[in-house]
Symmetry: C2
Subunit: 412 residues, 2 copies
């Protein structure tokens, strides 16, 4: 809970940070509780005195982070205890997503409810990065107006991008967008700020879209599932790797490039410059081409493919079977390497999961050495195609919950 | 340092475990120090009083875990401080390795010196698991006699096996040995114990060979290198994944099966039942076959290949180039997925690294998306072909260092 800076030599906690620790501790408990806990239950669970709990909870309520549930029905003597839950007003997170064929924006409140959502469909490849970011900024501006009209204050933004993103927010490479060394924070700095500033919290985080989607899925999923591979199918294919309840980012934050796992080493050329990568076999455009649907606009393609497959269109079914087999070959490699027991199909794979899961599972059974002892579950993303943008907004919300004093200092 | 059981509610450390914590703390400091620290330096580094340090160090010296360095030359007034280092007598670790074409045994003392080493070369595939384990037990018996003659006491054993090993020590599958559901602890239990018993420490740990080799490499390597892929080439190909200074084992301990990463999905059949895995393209037997060396006995083959390659034998050079390319395809996939900056070639790949590194590096440059920002170092294992058996013995030694009270209770 406390960072090293909060701890004096010898392990004693400095007085100044005690309040900060208790605020974060109780807010975290309220956020994680399966049903709204009472002040008394929080005292029992944390070992803090009831007086301390009451004082800290009052601060959290006063700052708009926590609210009291409707009074419980009176079941015995005395005043019924009121449950505490995260506020649906106060701070909210702004999630943004740039993909090859759409932009998306969403606002999530602390309680996890989506309060605003827009998807802007367009092939973004002809646009310059500055033009694309201008559209993103305009979508963000409208989302902010809508959020403020609902009494919410945006506490920060996270932007999902399909590519390699440095810790400085510079997109090193997004091959399917044609981006290379795009300094997103610098390009956005010339425009009005996306959100209100909260000292101590980042105003904007730029992150790989599959990583943010995996985080969204982690927090939307069953509490027990802490290790999984999230595969995000779009024009490109990315992956987020969650190990032990945390995103695994790799040495420089560039992990998860499953789209460039070789499936036919000397096969089709790939936009990355290599050959035989997964992407030209199982990316959204590869599926469209195999289904005989080239030349159409890229918007809404997963839905169109699902409709054709439901109707029994032979070319579409064959295209999905082929993509599923290629995906299964790559995923089997990952499972052999990392021994993960859950694989989540997201992005355009979510609505197509019904046709992709059988060939993926067939390759896993055939290729995973530990399959007899270690069955692998393959399932569609709980958040469907929205996982990245919802995960982005959720990452902002979780930063507020983890450091409530940052928000309270601003509000106060 | 302390497990949850050592900590009373509220975070207070129970008195009984304080000595245990201090013993482990100081022994760990002595083990990690770049040069033998004095008692005064330990007191400064840990914040313990000099009296406590002296008492704890006396216990460690008395129990045979620590020894004093030769007196430093007198440089000023007063008695020169004597440096403390791990003892080269006292407890030692027994490392054992079963591979397809050899058995190996080694004894490592606390100071990390190899005190005994035997390699028994033979094709073990015709033998039953019980027959193979009988040979292992006989090698272990001789190693124990030799260790005891040197004043060492074996504190436990670790056995490296090329396959999937359950947490219970049962080898679920070792395809190249033809083992399936082999209960190693049960089969060894019918024989005299391999080592003396130390209550609180496991007498025998069975573990995947690439995992133990990766741990050996981690502790033999530069202190700063905490994230790498260790690839172990033998008849089979395994990998150990080290993330943030710790072995990544996966959901059930079955991680690292790089040998079954597909490199030509519908290509050569593999012993695992799949097709086109890395192993039939870059395993030791695949290299021998490609070099026109089939039908020979399997002992000493890496050395033979290295000799032929050094002499410019065209078939051998082509075989190594082909194996290196296949290995590079698979390793590029792993690096794209995990964003690791170091790849270590071990097992039979260590003596062949000179010929394998160029094609591996070529595939990495070609296929790794982040290569321009995240250069990958490929190098031979520091421990050469011994990494697994040395890593096995080292894992025993590190357990003693992590829990000195277990050893001291036995010794006292």
């Amino acid at each position: 809970m406390s960072s090293p800076a909060d701890t004096a030599p010898g392990g004693a906690v400095r007085q100044a940070s005690l309040r900060e620790i208790n605020l974060a501790l109780l807010l975290g408990r309220i956020a994680a509780a399966p049903r709204p806990p009472s002040r008394a239950e929080l005292a029992t669970a944390t070992g803090l005195t009831r007086a301390t709990v009451s004082a800290v909870v009052d601060d959290l309520i006063g700052g708009g982070l926590v609210t009291e549930a409707e009074p419980a029905p009176r079941t015995g003597a005395g005043r019924p205890a009121r449950g505490l839950l995260l506020a649906g007003h106060g701070p909210a997170g702004l999630g943004l997503e740039i993909n090859v064929d759409y932009l998306a924006v969403c606002v999530l409140d602390l309680a996890g409810a989506v309060r605003h959502r827009t998807v802007h469909r367009a092939d973004l490849r002809p646009l310059s990065p500055a033009e694309t970011l201008a559209r993103v900024a305009e979508l963000a501006r409208r989302a902010r107006v809508d959020a403020e009209a609902q009494g919410l204050t945006l506490a920060g933004a996270a932007l999902a991008v399909p590519g390699l993103v440095g810790a400085d927010g510079v997109v090193r490479l997004a091959p399917n967008l044609g981006w290379r060394e795009v300094d997103v924070p610098a390009l956005l700095a010339t425009r009005p700020p996306l959100t209100g500033a909260v000292p101590g919290l980042p105003a904007l985080v730029v992150e790989n879209e599959a990583n943010l989607a995996a985080l969204g899925e982690l927090h939307a999923g069953q509490p027990g599932v802490t290790d999984f591979l999230y595969v995000s199918g779009e024009v490109g294919i990315g992956a987020g790797i969650v190990l032990d309840g945390a995103l695994y980012r790799g040495a420089r934050g560039f992990s998860g490039e499953i789209g460039h796992l070789p499936v036919h080493p000397e096969g089709r050329p790939c936009r990355c410059g290599g050959r035989g990568c997964l992407e030209p076999y199982a990316g959204q455009e590869a599926i469209l081409t195999a289904a005989g649907l080239t030349g159409t606009d890229v918007a809404g393609d997963a839905v169109r493919l699902a409709r054709l497959a439901t109707g029994g269109d032979a070319a579409t079914l064959a295209a999905l079977a082929g993509a599923g087999t290629a995906l299964g070959v790559a995923v089997a490699g990952v499972v052999n390497l990392l021994d993960l027991d859950t694989v989540v199909l997201g992005g355009c794979y979510a609505p197509l999961a019904r046709w992709l899961i059988p060939p993926v599972t067939a390759e896993l059974s055939r290729r995973v050495l530990a399959a007899p002892w270690s069955p692998v579950t393959v399932r569609p993303a709980l958040l469907g195609g929205d996982a990245a943008v919802v995960g982005a907004a959720g990452s902002v919300v979780r930063r507020v919950v983890a450091r409530p004093t940052a928000w309270l200092a601003r509000a106060g």
